[in-house]
Symmetry: C2
Subunit: 321 residues, 2 copies
């Protein structure tokens, strides 16, 4: 990279497409940070992307999502497929909530050039994740990753939404889940394309399967609609991971043939567009609102003399004047 | 309400301040829905608010937050204090993830006129909760509620942020939490004013206390800064709930005397202002971008012929022209 500006998106993207992992990591950092350079990365990556397939993996904290992701990576590598993982889960070993054993297990993959793992910050500016995640996925797609796993925790508004925006969404539950109040059931049911009962060697797995089947029976499925299958895995021993992969492929095949994949991607692009609009307007507001009048209005709100809605009306009037 | 428009914010606020609970519920629905009527409610409530005190209660799913909230309600009622609860936790019995026992327990309070419980939708438009929650708190304040409990799940970007914006934030953990990877520890540590080890009759409570103390020792506290106390409760038996209340009062007293409360509320108002700016700009974009040119740009993005960043640039150019 000598002789080039360290953060030049053009040069970084070229290097990343040539297999330079640190360039890929650097580009993802630019996306995470936002602003003009992130936009430039997005613009450049756009025409280069479109070949990748995104798998969302979500579920309650402790459901074993990271272990399952790790086992899935192993399965894909055995099939000689390359995979990239974005972990957006504060309880994930990928994102640093690790116990040592998990970290070590991850490290096996971390030195494999066919595997790229990246954790995204889960905190910071509102909406940041919703915008940064599709951009990061597109970047990884543009640098040649064909299989992309996005792991999020299945609790929290933003996180469930992100998982639901994948091409195929896998929802991971555990035996006993049916009785517990721990999971955002309705939200998870809605985004699931494939259900996995992980830790299926524990008692209660059959009951959990019956619960899920019952819930699915309450849902309306058209005659040619996809009906989420229910799989059982023991991720720590990689049991059932081959079946999970087959189910993902079956869903992909169905979604491609039925037009559902294209429809879903259109919805996603529309959502991303609206996020980008808000982001750009936010920037514009920042640029416009640095004058004395703005400081005065802000001060009135902070000291509780003016409500924020009236303040913003005054501000917008000032912009239009 | 006969002879008045059902959704007239003025009339509803008057009725709510006179003790009409259904009017309060209706106003909260307007806030949840957003738009011009929500803004009008916000404007009207603003000058009437400022007497209420907000307690945030958060922790991992299954930590017993709702049971603790319920026990706290009982304690406050015994002190003849009125309380309002906003539940923003998909795993909360308040928000409908209930097992029957919890629901029944809640119903005891639901018929008490000194208690107002409301669940807020956890899904929907991005940023919706971040804006709707402070508005809902202000409305409850404006209709005379002096003690406001905001219960959120301590996982997820938006949810932890919302809990951290309370006047006093209580973080609920369980024995064994120290060893688990289930909680967004760093995020929770940062927002905690009071720690509660709930289910403290289970084994491991002492170790959890030592873990928390150790983490607190790693933090920097000024000589006159508030240091979060660590309490033990068994919420199902209301054990330790009096101590929790005393700790909340102690934190309030300290925050008021040190100026921390005023500082925190200023930060909150500034954040709310910036959310309102984004919301208004989003509306403005919707108004401005309904023409033929806009439809065309949107279509190019949805069909993947144009990247969203370039699309928004074109759109903004059109607005400025």
């Amino acid at each position: 990279m000598s002789g080039r500006r360290r953060d030049d998106p053009h040069a970084l993207l070229e290097a990343a497409r040539g297999g330079d992992r640190s360039a890929t990591a650097r580009l993802l950092s630019l996306i995470e940070r936002g602003g003009p350079e992130a936009r430039e990365v997005g613009r450049l990556a756009y025409p280069l992307s479109g070949q990748g397939y995104t798998i969302g993996l979500t579920g309650a904290p402790g459901a074993g999502k990271s272990t399952l992701t790790s086992a899935l990576i192993g399965h894909l590598r055995a099939l000689d497929l390359e995979v990239a993982v974005l972990a957006i889960d504060p309880s994930s070993p990928f994102t640093g909530g690790a116990i040592l054993g998990d970290r070590v297990r991850m490290q096996d993959h971390a030195v494999d050039p066919g595997v790229f793992i990246r954790s995204m910050a889960t905190r910071g500016h509102l909406g940041g994740l919703s915008l940064a995640t599709p951009e990061a996925v597109r970047l990884l797609d543009a640098v040649g990753k064909r299989w992309l796993v996005v792991e999020t925790v299945g609790v929290g508004q933003v996180e469930v939404e992100i998982a639901g925006k994948a091409d195929t969404t896998v929802v991971v539950v555990n035996p006993g889940w049916g009785d517990s109040v721990q999971a955002n059931k309705a939200g998870l049911m809605e985004v699931a394309d494939v259900f996995v009962i992980n830790k299926a060697d524990r008692s209660g797995a059959d009951q959990t399967r019956r619960d899920l089947e019952q819930m699915l029976e309450l849902s309306e499925f058209g005659s040619d609609a996809w009906r989420p299958p229910i799989l059982a895995t023991v991720a720590t021993g990689s049991e059932g991971v081959g079946d999970l992969w087959d189910a993902i492929i079956a869903h992909r095949t169905h979604a491609e043939a039925s037009g559902e994949l294209e429809r879903r991607r259109s919805v996603r692009r529309r959502l991303e567009l609206s996020e980008v609009i808000v982001e750009r307007l936010r920037e514009r507001a920042r640029d416009l609102c640095t004058g004395e009048r703005w400081e005065q209005i802000t001060d009135e709100v902070i000291t509780n003399r003016l409500d924020p809605w009236s303040a913003v009306d005054q501000m917008l009037d000032a912009i239009d004047a």
